[in-house]
């Protein structure tokens, strides 16, 4: 009997109440004691789809080729804010090979971005916003046709700086004003003023972080194709069911007539959590032309319109006792969300949750500007917030003459500071200890002295991280036993490159008692997959994994039931091992397929659903990172020599692929710390570096020695697998640790990212000048 219950689910640092329907038996959790029995779980496993990915056989959305397929390209507005006065597509339409031009002139009015705009709007609020779609036989013809569309724009006043946008007479991005929801998001606990009164020391600082671009290697895009009255969409997305719902709503179609497929995708990092305008445009164009249409963004469009991590200005004030116990934290953030926002941005998550502190107040201002809309970007808000908070913690440690690590231990939260609930598990202390050991934290002063020579200065820094990653319902799976003794796992999740397909195969094989080779995982298709949530928020494995295990256990018990009757072995004497029935009385083995020789095409289908999260406990992931850097005072070059990362995310299913995720997060974090930055020209209101030539992402030459480990701590109270997420955790403390190490090397702090040569040199120079004027003593 299905049972409906209410549960709290966390996503990207926000909590949502959800009703879930419970089905099936409760699974006995896989606790730490189970590890020794595992054949597959916890063992390094090369990806089951590795061969496809290394041979070019993996088909990405970019690679979809259908008979008669047309190509679509989007015309974008060159102005930061403008109204279309006149739009003439007739010349473009006449170009041979052009099949369709869609624009505000002939497309249906489809509300977009919570109704703040339309699919084709005549008011355009950032340079790069969509004006028209050209569809033609060849891509090159599209480019020719784009040149032939005539648009007369009336430029409007614009603003790209969020602080200016908050001024009373600032140009308005939207009629309703530039502050999202008209007010900041405020959080308060305890009594802030009292907290500061109780403090023996107070530190304060203002930090600026830059806007960065995801730059997924596969740009956003969709292919749409009508099969009769069913719309089939291939989309490079992290959320096939979300795209289905969005497209169905936009086009007024019932859900069963929209099928969304995503097998392989070239990165998302949070920017592909929803359908894009390109998705709906492709669908409309396919409908009008009667042919499949592929609409892909190019690199420029990607970097103007496909999301970004908002820039922030953060002011933090921390108070603490002489002993280093935090008494108060105030944190105000101004976040540049660009022209549209589906939800408020925030940088205050870590401030609220990382340390025990009775008096906290945070204010997050999400500000509209005439720039491309922000989107989730790997641990949204936590990367930015941790940079500022952990910098202040180091300043506090310096004032108190405490070891930075010791200060963090003195404020270690034993229960969640917001909910006062205990954690299911918290491996942060273990991560601190292991990380300190790996970087040789105790020896750092000696190393600094020995290795700081000439113009080179060595520095050490560390930072902590807290993140959600609990996953949660609803998520479902099916496990089908085929007559030849193989099994098919069916879910509606997606493998965005993290190794989901492999981890789910390991879990299913383990639970079934089958060899890994006999498992095939089918995902990324709404038509035959059962619902799974989006692959974001580090929630995929912890959401879908337990459902797969439940389905596999269900299939296994059906198989044993049927097997016992066919083989005439008592049910409790029968087990499954490596794809064979084993009679425990005499050890006799018979392959699973033998029973189907009698049963023919009898099919077993196991069903599984993700159960609720624990009600009385918090589920979080934790980690600590330590950086060793060398700063050259002459050139301003920051060289990260070593990054040590130790994270706790529950049980490790696949140590091989988890290391890839740790490396990946750290490397993106290094880009954020040292080189990446979207540059805007405030006078023209445009982004000046939307290409990979001018926007610097890390290359292999930029990668330091990385030592990455997990505290393998199964968390059986979190879910029956004991797993939590790991996609986002390693990016969170990376920039913070690097910035703290740079401050340690320099003897003063730079409050702004990225730490480019230019910035470091400028700061060094301004200090030299101050010193020349007799100032600058104790100027940290």
């Amino acid at each position: 009997m299905p049972k409906v219950i209410k549960t709290e689910v966390e996503f990207e640092g926000r909590f949502y109440e959800e009703y879930i329907v419970l089905e099936g038996e409760d699974l006995s959790p896989w606790g730490p004691d189970r590890d020794r029995d595992f054949r597959l779980v916890g063992k390094p496993q090369p990806r089951v789809d590795g061969p496809e990915r290394v041979t070019g056989a993996a088909k990405f959305t970019h690679d979809v080729r259908l008979p008669g397929m047309l190509y679509g390209r989007i015309l974008r507005c060159p102005h930061p804010h403008a109204r279309i006065q006149r739009l003439d597509t007739s010349k473009a339409e006449k170009l041979s090979g052009v099949r369709l031009v869609l624009s505000a002139e002939n497309a249906p009015e489809i509300p977009w971005r919570m109704g703040l705009t339309k699919l084709f709007d005549r008011t355009l609020r950032y340079a790069g916003e969509e004006v028209a779609l050209v569809v033609a036989d060849e891509e090159e013809i599209c480019y020719d046709a784009l040149e032939l569309i005539e648009v007369e724009y009336k430029p409007l006043p614009f603003v790209v700086d969020p602080e200016k946008a908050l001024e009373p007479n600032a140009p308005k991005v939207h009629e309703s004003g530039n502050l999202l929801n008209g007010a900041p998001e405020v959080y308060e606990r305890g009594d802030l003023q009292k907290g500061f009164e109780e403090a023996d020391v107070v530190v304060e600082g203002t930090f600026r972080t830059q806007s960065v671009l995801h730059n997924c290697m596969e740009t956003h895009g969709s292919v749409a194709h009508w099969e009769g009255d069913t719309l089939v969409i291939w989309d490079s997305t992290q959320h096939i069911f979300g795209v289905r719902a969005q497209v169905a709503q936009a086009l007024g179609l019932p859900l069963h007539r929209v099928r969304v497929i995503k097998q392989y995708m070239g990165g998302g990092f949070g920017s592909k959590n929803a359908a894009g305008k390109y998705t709906v445009m492709a669908a409309l164009a396919a409908q009008r032309t009667g042919r499949p249409v592929q609409v892909l963004l190019d690199r420029f469009e990607e970097n103007l319109a496909a999301g970004n991590r908002p820039s922030t200005v953060q002011t933090l004030k921390l108070g603490a006792t002489r002993e280093g116990r935090l008494t108060a934290i105030y944190h105000k953030s101004i976040l540049n969300v660009g022209a549209y926002a589906a939800w408020p941005a925030s940088a205050s998550g870590p401030t609220k949750r990382l340390y025990e502190c009775p008096n906290v107040k945070t204010e997050d201002y999400s500000v509209f500007t005439n720039l491309g809309p922000f989107s989730a970007f790997r641990a949204p808000g936590y990367v930015e917030g941790t940079f500022a908070l952990e910098a202040m913690m180091d300043e506090l440690a310096r004032k108190l003459s405490l070891d930075p690590l010791e200060l963090r231990l003195r404020n270690y939260a034993e229960v969640d500071p917001i909910t006062n609930k205990p954690y299911t598990t918290k491996g942060l202390r273990a991560a601190y200890e292991r990380g300190a050991q790996l970087i040789d934290w105790e020896e750092r002063e000696r190393v600094k002295k020995e290795r700081s020579r000439g113009t080179k200065r060595i520095g050490f820094g560390m930072a902590s991280q807290i993140w959600g990653g609990s996953g949660g319902p609803p998520a479902y799976a099916l496990v089908k036993i085929n007559p030849d003794g193989t099994a098919t796992v069916i879910t509606g999740t997606q493998d965005i490159g993290t190794g989901t397909r492999t981890a789910l195969a390991q879990i299913a094989a383990e639970a079934l008692g089958f060899p890994l080779e006999s498992i095939r995982v089918e995902l990324g298709d709404t038509q035959w997959g059962v619902y799974s949530p989006l692959s974001a928020g580090s929630m995929t494995l912890a959401s879908v994994g337990p459902a797969v295990r439940a389905a596999a256990e269900d299939a296994r018990s059906q198989l044993l039931e049927v097997g016992s009757q066919v083989l005439e072995i008592p049910r409790d004497a029968l087990t499954l091992e490596n794809g064979e029935f084993v009679d425990s009385r005499d050890g006799k083995r018979s392959p699973v397929r033998t029973i189907f020789e009698k049963l023919l095409n009898y099919t077993i289908v196991g069903q599984g659903a993700r159960g609720p999260n624990p009600e009385d406990k918090n589920v979080n992931t934790f980690g600590a990172q330590f950086a060793q850097v060398e700063v050259d005072l002459e050139t301003g070059t920051v060289k990260v020599e070593r990054m040590v990362a130790v994270h706790e995310s529950g049980r490790v299913i696949n140590p091989l692929t988890i290391r890839s995720q740790l490396y990946g997060g750290i490397i993106q974090g290094l880009g954020y710390a040292l080189m990446e930055r979207r540059l805007e020209d405030p006078r023209r209101g445009i982004v000046v570096n939307p290409s990979l030539e001018t926007y610097k992402v890390p290359t292999i030459e930029d990668v330091p020695e990385i030592v990455a480990e997990m505290v393998d701590l199964p968390d059986p109270e979190a879910n029956p697998l004991g797993v939590k997420g790991v996609g986002e955790p390693p990016i969170i403390p990376t920039a913070a640790a690097v910035a703290n190490a740079v401050a340690d090397a320099l003897g003063f702090r730079i409050h702004e990212l990225p730490l480019t040569r230019d910035r470091v040199l400028t700061e060094l120079l301004s200090r030299d000048q101050d010193r020349g004027r007799g100032r600058g003593e104790g100027d940290r």
């Binding site: 990806r47 290394v54 041979t55 056989a57 480019y143 997924c216 990979l692």
Partner: protein
């Protein structure tokens, strides 16, 4: 590439924009000859992806900044988005599809799988071909050699440390 900020030439008529007509082209790819018709402005990358159906080489930028489109031209890695198909006629082109022989992965491919030198896999064909070209020329590369060989192949997933491991392992595996 869409030039977003360029002023559109509204005086141009359709006829002014038409370039030379499509021409017949012939390319040697993975040891086979392919003949097709395309406009002279078609890049090697587009010819592979659209005309030959070989989608292993990816388009990450279309302007020579990412390396996802890397293929081998006479054994040397090139950005296929920066070459015109016309100028590649008469040369030997090797793409990722030609690497595995008789259903068996090339040692570099095998090493990439074993060492998980990828996540999403979008940059992977390019990385593998760059490493293959390196090992063909220098069977005992240093770590520096390996890094230089793929320094023009961006990986946003950050598979770099595993790519170095895989290249080292492949070097050991390959017959000298």
């Amino acid at each position: 590439m869409v030039k977003v900020f360029e002023k559109r030439e509204s005086t141009l008529g359709a006829a002014d924009l038409a370039g030379p007509d499509p021409v017949s082209l012939s390319l040697r790819v993975n040891g086979q000859t392919f003949s097709f018709v395309a406009e002279p402005r078609r890049t090697l990358l587009d010819a592979l992806r659209y005309d030959l159906g070989l989608t292993g080489a990816k388009k990450g930028c279309d302007e020579g900044t990412c390396g996802a489109c890397t293929v081998l031209l006479n054994g040397k890695p090139v950005y296929s988005c920066l070459l015109l198909a016309v100028e590649c006629q008469g040369h030997e082109i090797e793409t990722i599809e030609g690497l595995a022989k008789g259903g068996k992965l090339h040692p570099v491919q095998e090493a990439f799988v074993e060492h998980d030198a990828l996540q999403c896999g979008f940059c992977t064909p390019g990385q593998i071909l760059s490493i293959k070209a390196l090992l063909d020329e220098n069977p005992e590369p240093t770590e520096e050699d390996i890094k230089r060989a793929v320094s023009g192949n961006l990986c946003r997933c950050g598979a770099y440390p595993h790519i170095v491991e895989a290249a080292r392992a492949a070097a050991k595996k390959l017959p000298r």
